[in-house]
């Protein structure tokens, strides 16, 4: 993957840019090489690039001033939360300011009356839950990186997690954000009422991967913790049987809180790593959570148990909270455990219609043979969100390139069966060049024009998400300056 070429004129002005940022954030500019090295990549660590400079604002006025300066001087901006993106969303640019939001980590208000929390973007996902759990509440989206990832990053990526089958993605759990738009204007989208009085720009900004502005405040919904949660471990003699069972459970109308799939290789590696008690003789296992009031959960558990049996599987239930936690600890350690199989791995992310699971699982096995690379499957089966892990060794010539090609073929397969390139990791740079497999040139041009509506200069996270983003002027777009109308003679819509 290549980023658009850097602008050597901007690089040449580095000292001046650093000085200007120091005026805005005197105590938060990182410009020395060792300091900058911390920021040279995110969780897509195969790609790294030192930023021109990194600035760490501590309030929205500073963010606004930085974006105003960047707009006036034509300097690219790359926003960053905790740097846990798996798609390279926060990969810096040699000619760009990396704006790190980690210092803005205040929980501004906990409002139990309205079931919401107002936070700054640098608050970690898990810290929101920690702030309210003593009162029986939690924040539902739970990406695997929730200990580290920030809510600002979650908004940018529209993060999911284990439990979004029932509770939705980030976008379904937000009431509002405050955004500093390119140029430095501060706009509030939604709020505790959730109402916007116009287009749903909150929905647009969520998942926009840092291309439309920088989020400085977030209002999230919190939910009451379900009184009862029960966990089932189902095992199957074949991968397609487990895939068919997932489809059968969804078709039955049961909505589990989570439904996770692991194949034999993954389960074996995890079992060796932290011994969660997974059966080693099964070709595939499912971990299924049902939550709600007691009778609701009892109903779901009995339905799931019956369906698993019909699909030829066996079910065991976690007998207590300790065993429940142990089963999930294995799933949560999946990536770490997989590290034992090979020196390197990449985690793919695509979604398919659930009925296509058995077919896709078989096709992936064929691709694995074709590329001569091992892989295993750990994924959010309930919503059809695949996370194949391709294992390889970068020290062996050509393996990294083969692994990337294998991954790209898996994603093309997802699109071919009616699915999408990303279920929760985002496009970033990782999948940017595959966007043309999913979208037509007209679709992409439309998204490009939406980008231009916010960022007429194309300064925000350039090189991410879109394979080729033509300059806004070529899109026939007239940049809106300040609050000026693009077509003053036309009625306000």
């Amino acid at each position: 993957m290549l980023l658009p070429p850097s602008d050597s004129k901007i690089i040449a002005r580095r000292a001046e840019i650093v000085a200007a940022l120091k005026k805005i954030v005197p105590d938060g500019v990182v410009a020395d090489p060792s300091g900058l090295a911390t920021f040279e990549s995110d969780a897509l660590s195969a790609y790294h690039q030192m930023p021109l400079v990194c600035v760490l604002p501590s309030n929205r006025e500073q963010v606004s001033a930085i974006l105003k300066y960047a707009g006036e001087e034509g300097v690219p901006i790359v926003p960053r939360g905790a740097g846990t993106s798996l798609s390279g969303g926060a990969l810096p640019r040699e000619d760009g300011i990396l704006i790190g939001m980690g210092r803005m980590k205040r929980i501004i208000e906990i409002d139990y009356e309205n079931g919401c929390v107002v936070v700054e973007p640098g608050v970690t996902n898990l810290n929101i839950t920690k702030a309210v759990e003593a009162n029986g509440f939690y924040y539902a989206p739970d990406p695997s990186s929730q200990v580290a990832c920030t809510i600002g990053g979650n908004v940018a990526e529209n993060s999911g997690g284990l439990h979004c089958l029932k509770y939705g993605l980030t976008t379904n759990n937000l009431l509002g954000v405050t955004l500093v738009a390119p140029g430095g204007e501060i706009v509030t989208l939604g709020g505790k009422s959730g109402a916007q009085g116009g287009l749903d720009l909150l929905g647009l900004v969520t998942g926009s991967e840092g291309l439309l502005g920088v989020v400085v405040e977030v209002v999230v919904k919190i939910l009451r913790k379900a009184p009862v949660t029960r966990t089932l471990l189902a095992s199957f003699d074949s991968v397609p049987a487990a895939g068919a069972c997932v489809a059968a459970i969804i078709a039955d109308g049961v909505v589990p809180a989570a439904m996770e799939f692991m194949d034999r290789r993954a389960a074996g590696a995890i079992e060796a790593y932290n011994h969660p008690g997974y059966p080693l003789d099964a070709e595939a296992i499912l971990i299924i959570d049902a939550d709600g009031v007691e009778a609701d959960v009892a109903y779901a558990v009995s339905r799931v148990t019956d369906i698993v049996a019909q699909c030829g599987g066996k079910t065991v239930e976690a007998t207590d909270e300790k065993q429940r936690a142990r089963i999930w600890s294995g799933r949560k350690a999946a990536f770490a455990a997989m590290g034992r199989l090979a020196p390197d791995m990449i985690c793919m992310d695509g979604t398919i219609p659930r009925h296509a699971l058995p077919f896709v699982l078989e096709e992936m096995a064929k691709l694995s043979e074709q590329y001569g690379l091992g892989f295993c499957n750990v994924f959010h089966a309930g919503d059809g969100n695949l996370h194949p892990l391709i294992i390889f060794d970068t020290m062996k010539p050509g393996e990294f390139e083969r692994a990337e090609a294998f991954g790209a073929d898996i994603l093309r397969l997802c699109v071919k069966v009616g699915g999408v390139l990303s279920g929760e990791h985002g496009i970033g740079i990782e999948k940017r060049d595959l966007m043309t497999d999913q979208f037509t040139p007209e679709d992409l041009a439309q998204q490009g024009r939406v980008k231009c509506a916010f960022d007429g200069q194309g300064l925000f996270n350039p090189g991410k998400v879109f394979p080729t983003l033509s300059a806004c002027i070529e899109q026939g777009h007239i940049h809106v300056h300040g609050a000026q109308l693009p077509h003053p003679h036309l009625p306000r819509y």
Partner: protein, 379 residues
Amino acid sequence: MSKADNLSQVTDYVRAARAGKAPFEIVAGGTRRNVGKPLNGLPLLDVSGLSGILKYEPEELIVTAAPATPLSEINAVLAEKNQRLGFDPADWSKLLKSNGVATLAGAASSDASGSGKLRHGGPRDSLLGFQAVNGLGETIRGGSKVVKNVTGFDLPKLMCGAYGTLAVLTEMTFRVYPKPQQAALLFLADVTPQDGFAVLRKIAHSALEPAGLAYLPAGMMSDVGQGAALIKLEGASQPLQEKIALAHGLLGGGLQRLEADPFPAIGSGEKFADLAGDVWRIMVAPSEAPHVARQFHAQHWLGDWAGGVLWLAAPPVEASRIRKLAADAKGQAMLLRASAESRTLHGLYAPQPPALAALNRAVKAAFDPLFLFNPGRLA
């Protein structure tokens, strides 16, 4: 009036309109034409022929339909498989005294959620993907036909609540959910707005996953004394009994059973159909509801979504006061039913702050640079 029954006819019409720089009004079932700023006799594009379910996959929990599919049709087809739409579409035709047919795209485009929004969210949480013709006369697709997708910008969100100002929709894919086996209607009578809304918030933030939470003051419902807090719970037989018992426990008794379901008439605004005056929907943080409602004690009103929306019938002269009260409560007052003069004067929503208004206009222009579609409607 022109008619377009398929994608290619829509495309032809839009291209001709573009060439002639001729804005037009998009009409499907026609029930919501009198919502938002009047379009003052623009030519009509009738898309009611773009109707019918295209692909229903009950086992995937999704349905793809043409935009002008009547809500009644889609509800009936889904009910055959014990399913329902992922959002609770509100049919405003009784409120607006329309003889038209409420459609899928009409409900989504006007962000018309009934009382069930509480449980599953609005159209924005349900619309997974769409196909449409933009203002350049191009076919565009946004979103997808799978339930979990973060590929590219989330354009389906923009289509919801845009009142047809961005594109002419030609296909829509929604989530569907299993239909609950049973419902129970409970109410607490003789409670003040202050106490009634507090009860609703308590249930909203419980684990009961309520499907409806409304407060009706005296005069909006018979035999409820000062007012009633209404609670709708859903589930299979046994879980539902457990939820009812839990609700009793949470509120310390006093709950009575109600036989008929009052929520359809609440969520659709039907309760206001025969009341004089302009009809407003005021969206606020639920805890603000009692305070805002107190300002309207002389008028007819009710609160839905546990207080997240107040419905109000008020004389036209009250418009500015209502907008100010909503703004002071950090909410939005939407003018849903009013005369053409009132709607021209006050618009659908209050004017946005300049920077936000500029972004809204720029996004509109990104889809429809010549402002051909329903120009001025969403103001």
